[in-house]
């Protein structure tokens, strides 16, 4: 990629320096409070709800979210909000009202430990091992993306970015443990909001306001191929495809840019994937478990839900603004693309001329072009170029413009392109620090979740039980260092083998899909047995893999995208395949867990399960007024969420 690098002045560096000094300083300031392993891994369960709530949200916000949501906002429009309004809020409310009492009230110090108390070691081992590996890779992916971004944007050397950022995170987590991670996550939350809000505001102003954006996107929807949003020249959408969240969805997969149907969205994303992540992922649950009491723990996800509902304004809107600007004449803005260099343009032009005159088929012509240009092209535009008689007669300048226009969009570059477009020095430093902050909060979150699961669920459980608390606290520090080193390793792996990375993430998707079924049955049905849970979990994961192997989405070749064993179903898009896979895996896990539980004997008595199952747990003595109870707050939040959906129907 050859975009112009940004120049930072000492003002920008000062802002960056201040931020780094403060996050490291927080770590050192907390060092003296880290006396026991509970202090290090669980913050001694002493943190107020507003802090754990914001940390809950912030840990989830890796930079991949900031970059990715803006990318999706451009690619899919307002439908991306479903990831928040359908795919997060309901699950967060459910966690607060129904599940936190079990996580916080049981003696479990982690999510896998809950599984051990409720079922047995098999479920715990499966969950802790898969989570530990997943979370290290997640950290590595984030780190790799950050280093690449900084390299691209500022010209800083990749390796230096990688090691320096890791060192900063290492310093504050090593000194202050989970508390350090949580506190810095809150700082980072404000940094992210205050750093990006002005950019979004400037963008909205430049685009002429929300109504103007809507108008422009209506135009885009009726001619999406012009901006390389689709690869089929005949594809059009109704004008509201990018600005209406539900109507295009209800109309069917061919009517919305995401290519999903209503059921897959609601059940696959809204239920299975969403609840599977927010209710069982230790990365976020760990923050709620660090709260100072049961009420604070239950309020944590609710506190997080409020900014979460409003986040689309900060992260998804910029993508839509970018798209609207691209469609506005005179703004001199276009969705970012990889640039074909001068050097390569000559041979690329020669290639297209050759293909056009020689009557080469589209696929070969594209291959040749991509090889010469070093970028990917939109097939629809290349097909048009091949057909047009002008291709052979037009000047080189004209062809160069048309070829560059045909390059696929780099959606991940959208948020950065807006930062570059609007930020003078000063604000620039702030926005870049905000980006850095989002990466760090994700990485610190992953590292603290990893070191806790390792120390309690793997090391203490299987390798060295019955040692002193000091020993485990020591192990926690050691494994923090190891965890960071492993993240760096995963980052290098990701940078070198991005295809292998896709496979790894795929596998993690398989593991996540059935998880929620196990927890749901475990928490609400006392008849669920350990054998049932374990077999259900493993089968659900296998079912995911099988579903993936036997289905493919339109336009993809069998392989990493699926369909390599058989082609039993063709789904309209990658997202649709993902959501249906989740639905299938959940159902398999659920049914098998129920059936096998009924066929096997219970190994735990009702007394054992007290505090672990809904029906066997004494209800929390309610001391708050009715309007302060999690149930009531949850209902209010749900109503607001529904209203937001209605507003953007």
């Amino acid at each position: 990629m050859h975009q112009t690098a940004i120049n930072l002045t000492f003002i920008d560096y000062s802002i960056l320096g201040l931020y780094i000094a403060f996050v490291i300083g927080i770590g050192f300031a907390l060092k003296r409070y880290m006396k026991t392993s509970a202090d290090f891994f669980l913050s001694g369960r002493s943190i107020p709800a507003w802090v754990t709530g914001l940390a809950f949200l912030s840990a989830n916000l890796g930079a991949l979210e900031l970059v990715g949501m803006a990318a999706s906002g451009a690619k899919y429009g307002i439908a991306t909000c479903h990831f928040y309004w359908v795919g997060a809020i309901p699950a967060m409310i459910f966690l607060a009202v129904f599940m936190m009492p079990f996580y916080y009230g049981s003696k479990a110090r982690s999510v896998p430990e809950y599984l051990k108390l409720r079922f047995d070691e098999r479920a715990r081992a499966f969950n802790s091992i898969s989570f530990a590996i997943m979370t290290v890779f997640a950290s590595g992916i984030s780190l790799n993306a950050l280093a690449k971004l900084l390299n691209q944007l500022l010209g800083w050397e990749y390796n230096i970015c990688l090691w320096v950022c890791s060192l900063i995170v290492l310093l504050y987590v090593l000194k202050g443990g989970l508390t350090s991670a949580i506190y810095t996550e809150v700082l980072q939350f404000f940094m992210i909001v205050l750093g990006f809000a002005p950019v979004v505001w400037l963008g909205l102003k430049d685009a002429g306001g929300w109504t103007s954006v809507k108008d422009k996107l209506a135009g885009v929807a009726t001619d999406p191929v012009a901006l390389n949003l689709v690869s089929d020249a005949s594809k059009t959408f109704k004008p509201d495809a990018w600005t209406s969240a539900w109507t295009p969805l209800i109309a069917g997969p061919s009517q919305n840019p995401m290519g999903v149907d209503l059921f897959a969205m609601i059940f696959g994303l809204g239920f299975v994937l969403s609840f599977g992540y927010w209710c069982t992922n230790f990365l976020v649950v760990q923050r709620a478990m660090a709260a100072k009491d049961m009420t604070a723990a239950r309020n944590t996800p609710l506190v997080a839900a409020v900014p979460k509902m409003l986040f689309p304004l900060l992260v998804i809107l910029p993508g839509m603004i970018a798209l609207a600007l691209s469609a506005t004449a005179g703004k001199e803005y276009r969705l970012p693309q990889a640039i074909i260099t001068q050097a390569r343009m000559t041979t690329t032009i020669a290639s297209i001329k050759q293909s056009a005159s020689g009557g080469t088929d589209l696929a070969t012509a594209q291959e040749n072009l991509s090889a010469k240009a070093g970028v990917s092209f939109n097939p629809a535009k290349i097909a048009a170029l091949l057909k047009s008689p002008e291709t052979l007669t037009a000047s080189d300048e004209k062809l160069a413009i048309r070829l560059q226009d045909a390059v696929v969009n780099d959606y991940d570059g959208v948020i950065l392109s807006l930062v570059k477009r609007y930020c003078p020095t000063g604000l620039l430093g702030l926005a870049l620090t905000a980006l850095l902050a989002s990466f760090m909060s994700g990485m610190a979150g992953n590292v603290t979740a990893f070191n806790t699961v390792w120390t309690y669920d793997l090391y203490q459980a299987y390798i060295a039980p019955d040692r002193s608390d000091d020993h485990y606290a020591w192990m926690g520090r050691m494994v923090t260092i190891v965890g960071i080193l492993l993240s760096i390793g995963a980052a290098y792996f990701a940078s070198m083998w991005s295809n292998a990375m896709d496979i790894i993430q795929l596998v993690f998707g398989f593991v996540n899909a059935p998880l929620f079924a196990t927890f749901l049955l475990g928490m609400f049905w006392s008849r669920t047995t350990a054998t049932g849970a374990f077999i259900g979990l493993v089968s659900g994961t296998t079912a995911s893999a099988l579903f993936h192997a036997c289905t493919i989405s339109q336009g993809n070749v069998p392989g990493v995208k699926g369909g390599y064993l058989a082609k039993l179903a063709v789904l309209p898009s990658d997202m649709a395949q993902n959501f249906w896979l989740a639905s299938f895996a959940f159902t398999v896990c659920f049914l098998l867990t129920v059936v096998i539980s009924l066929a096997t004997k219970r190994t735990k008595s009702d007394e054992d399960l007290k505090g672990l199952v809904y029906s066997l747990t004494p209800k929390q003595i309610v001391t708050q007024a009715w309007y302060a109870r999690p149930e009531f707050i949850g209902i209010v939040l749900l109503i607001v969420c529904v209203y937001l959906n209605y507003l953007f129907w």
Partner: protein, 71 residues
């Protein structure tokens, strides 16, 4: 746990706000500087916002500390 997070947040944003506000003042006379941000002196405007936010946070933290001392 020991440290009231509002202190570091408040102080940091006050400092950053100060930095941006001063930058905004110093460069305010140069129209070319802010052409990129639609002619708005965004450093000054947003710097003041950050200053206020940082100040509020810091203020809350100090109040809380006083309240705890008096208890």
């Amino acid at each position: 746990m020991g440290l009231d997070i509002r202190f570091p947040i408040g102080i940091m944003f006050t400092l950053i706000g100060l930095l941006l506000t001063v930058t905004g003042f110093v460069t305010g006379g140069d129209p070319a500087f802010y052409k990129i941000s639609l002619g708005i002196n965004i450093n000054l405007d947003w710097g003041i916002v950050l200053l206020l936010f940082g100040g509020f946070m810091w203020g809350f933290a100090i109040l809380e500390k006083r309240k705890n001392k008096n208890q």
